[in-house]
Symmetry: D2
């Protein structure tokens, strides 16, 4: 950590900060400049807030030099992580598509979805059994019954299952039926849930919160990794900005940024990223072009009748077209799909 | 709901939308204009997404006319809600201050805090027993022991207790020791937790998420109210913007906006709103001047030694000064404090 | 325009709004619903603010139905605009790359840049002769001398010239030397400048402001188009959000959104969009994959010595690599580059 | 400036950065830590971008220690600036209110406005003669005729005149008729205009851009100050966020932040800050409570008939009420109004 003292800070103020640093376990290097004294704190301490130093007498500003996450950082595993589930590898050469409806509604809908998804070349079927909704008056999901339907349809079509876990109490159920746990954007900083997921060994897809920074996303991944669950995948799904033409603003640049800072695979979710069906395909292409390891996409046999998220859900024909275009883009960036 | 058809929408497209509306239970009024046909849907249906209509063939745009929340809306209780807890009234004439440290650290710290808080005229002591932190390596709270310490100190000083509930599983414990449950910004859309809180009868302070709209805040309140827990208070604590001089941007205008849209009391939290001690007092004054029913403020006997949030925590002398200034501002807006 | 009256609005209030609408030249359609009366205003009036109606007595909300821009809208020219300059077509099948240094520094730098740019297959050289800088103490540009250098280097290498106009007074000079006028993000709503550009016949590239909506970008284009200058190209170059890993957040989704709403070509500027050299190439790929008609990119013979924007400027080798990758992506989306 | 080298940076890389710093005129202090080498650059150089160093080989990050503005910084004039114009002092003990319509429409409107404004105790009349509008089809202002009307009405009522300058070419006219030049949010970074204003001696009110940081606002003030025009006042008028209940989000915390960082007076504009008449008065109170030196407010004899900005313009009765409340708040914070 670097602490920059104010111009004209007194020797007593400098000493006060040094004492505080030493008490916390830092070794301190002092550099006395013409206008500013700079203190460098070196040591094993990571549990500190730079802001706490900035309010000390005589301090101008404070900078953290070592990133607050470790296991999630690229330097921990420079070659990158490949998450292997059965015969599917995420983070390897192949761009992996996970697709399906927002909510599990009934057997027919999921059977049809699984066929559409598998036929077009996706590897994982998605579908929500527990649906958190902004309004308490909305449909809330089929629960375990929905998971059973998903599992059966996936097995029949050679697909993996991804489904969202909303709460610690649902974890055993999800681990039983799903191959990948999804943590939604609203739960990205539900630290109790993250900790619990760190203790299971089912792979997890962690979605970025709508106002989370990339650093916060990596810190949330760290919660899971530090529990011993190393199969963590990240997902960019749009952040909240002032623009209203799209439901969220999909931060495509987060993809190369995560690639630089972390070894974890990163996927893109153009359905939530845009909120509008007509923009999903171009943004799916953009995500892959920017280096995404996969996509999470909503598709439904008849999206205009979907109980949730219909507006951002692709029709079967659109999905097939997307898969074809993605394949070409993946090749253009030296990958397969 | 109003559905505006595209210029040149065909009669078949118009009929398609009418059919969909009627199937959903709406009565439809049709108005054929020179360029655009407009359909008005009237009825008991509230569980719908305008976006789902905007993707139908021939539709240009769709507007929800009736707000998606009901019990939280001002029209439900035009006179406003006053939450009464023992002899404290929140939402009445008095501006109520809730203050204390970020985290419960030990008995002495809380005893000293309670004295500082009570002596300066605040009515409620705050303090966290369960601490969710962005980093898994940070201090995580004292748990039940912390709640006991708070309760004892509050009782000795004639104060109420507010403390944060992070998870359904903590609810029985919190209800036992605290007078007010706090729902933090990160849990504002943890709908399972909100639902559970709707089923208890302990008053609750619901904080706005850092990227939540006011409408989403009111929808989250609706979750609690619809369970039968009517003692809901709201709290503005800063939203995330591009400005970095403050940790968050405290949206003071949310105070009069909530007053207009809802009957629920609204408080301001200038500690989280600014993240920096030196800006807390002016923003506390601003919140009260804008019409806040109370404040939630961090104060600590020795904030530079606090285990968390020290940078935004007032020193005892600053807190007393704030209380004096708040009293004058409250009088200027026709209230007491 | 649709005016929705409040539930319980009096007949007098409804009549007041009708009178106001009629006075403004609207024909009014009235639809009396169970809870809300809705008034539809039809007519030639476009110069109005919906907000002005929302403050009238008894009004709940007001929606504009017809977009406030006309000449810029897709419906004005459904087939799309192709801007033709000498043998270059922007908005056609080919993805056109405009590249060069941020600032014109000297003859050698521009000569070298022009060679790099032309050799790699770009069609237009960029370079600023007038440099507006956030700090008054920074380098401010070479002025006319810089434009001459650009022109000569471009002619020698078969390139077009694009350069930024900062102020009306510079317009004659720019029109003399440049093939394309660039309007920077900070001037997107400099309406006096836009009006002046509408009166010349030099093609113009209009960059989106860092906090402009897509609608505002199209309204600014309308200023130019309404003056009779139809050769307008738009450019997405990043918007300001809370994320700090990139200098701006490049809103890739603005590309398909503009394609839907407008007939004007849209380019992407990954240099300003990211602010960091290492993210420029993936974001260039993403822009093309999302459907951009071209790119505006900073490249410099020795960017670490550039007088401005060095951090986001590609090295020659990186630029060549980008051009090769762009070519593959363009083919994948059915275009050439 | 502090340059932090990457862990494992080679001696050659460190030397490369040192050479670059020395070439730029910095004196370099080197501090070799266990994991990171830190270089401190001291010297007279201010025209540099930290980002340009972050792309050098082996560099991890770079921090600017000395703020890029000087004349605008608090340390340049610790006691604060009081702008004196005739008998009005802005930045002193008194909270000064500047009020009037958005646009000058005709003689009667301005005469009535001036009376309303003066009678209620405001000191300055505002009104726009040149109106930049988002749409090219909107009313564009009365020009010089409007300024004459303003001047006459102000003189008759003992008021000062503030009016907006949109373009260098209007500067002589504005300086002739107005006591204070207003620079609008859209021109905050129109550096040519700022430079021109720096060369006149008419006081200026500089409004913060809707996506400008406080640091950028101070840099823009620096442009004016560095030209020798020291009578600069700043104005917070709302920033763009995702919240749509208000037109902008008025960043009240910018008031104490500016007070800390700069010696220049800071005003609040609750009309543009909220965009809605009903929220103007509470936000005016909040601004004064937070320490604003004055207010800029829109009032009109009949705002529902105003040609522009009617929705955010106070009615005469509301304005009088605001003035009374402001007076009480000013007293509560130890000032007068």
């Amino acid at each position: 950590m670097l602490v920059v003292m104010q111009a004209g800070a007194s020797e007593q103020q400098v000493q006060g900060v040094i004492d505080r640093l030493v008490n916390m376990g830092f070794t301190v290097h002092r550099s006395t400049g013409v206008t500013h004294t700079v203190l460098g704190g070196v040591g094993p301490v990571e549990d500190f807030e730079p802001a706490d130093f900035e309010v000390l007498d005589g301090v101008k500003e404070c900078h953290r030099i070592i990133s607050p996450y470790k296991l999630a950082s690229r330097s921990f595993k420079p070659g990158g992580t490949v998450v292997k589930i059965k015969d599917v590898e995420i983070g390897g050469n192949s761009v992996v598509v996970m697709a399906g409806p927002c909510s599990v509604e009934n057997v027919d809908q999921i059977e049809m979805s699984a066929e559409i998804v598998a036929k077009a070349g996706a590897k994982v079927i998605r579908g929500g059994a527990f649906k958190p909704r902004s309004s308490p008056y909305s449909f809330q999901g089929m629960g375990e019954e929905g998971l059973k339907i998903m599992r059966a349809a996936a097995d029949r079509n050679g697909l993996l299952v991804i489904s969202e876990v909303m709460d610690q109490s649902q974890l055993p159920l999800l681990c039983e039926y799903a191959d990948i746990l999804q943590v939604g954007a609203r739960n990205m900083q539900n630290f109790n849930l993250l900790r619990a997921i760190g203790n299971v060994r089912t792979p997890v897809l962690l979605k970025r919160g709508i106002s989370a920074t990339v650093e916060e996303l990596l810190l949330s991944a760290e919660y899971i990794l530090s529990g011993g669950n190393y199969d963590v995948m990240l997902c960019e799904r749009g952040i909240r900005t002032y623009e209203t033409m799209t439901r969220n603003t999909m931060d495509i640049s987060a993809i190369p940024v995560v690639k630089k800072l972390s070894h974890l695979p990163i996927l893109g979710d153009p359905s939530h990223g845009t909120g509008k069906r007509e923009f999903v395909v171009p943004m799916a292409r953009a995500a892959v072009a920017a280096g995404a390891d996969g996509l999470l996409v909503e598709v439904h046999p008849d999206p205009d009748r979907a109980v949730s998220d219909g507006a951002q859900t692709l029709k079967p024909g659109q999905f097939e077209e997307m898969m074809q275009q993605i394949r070409l883009i993946a090749q253009a960036v030296g990958r397969s799909a």
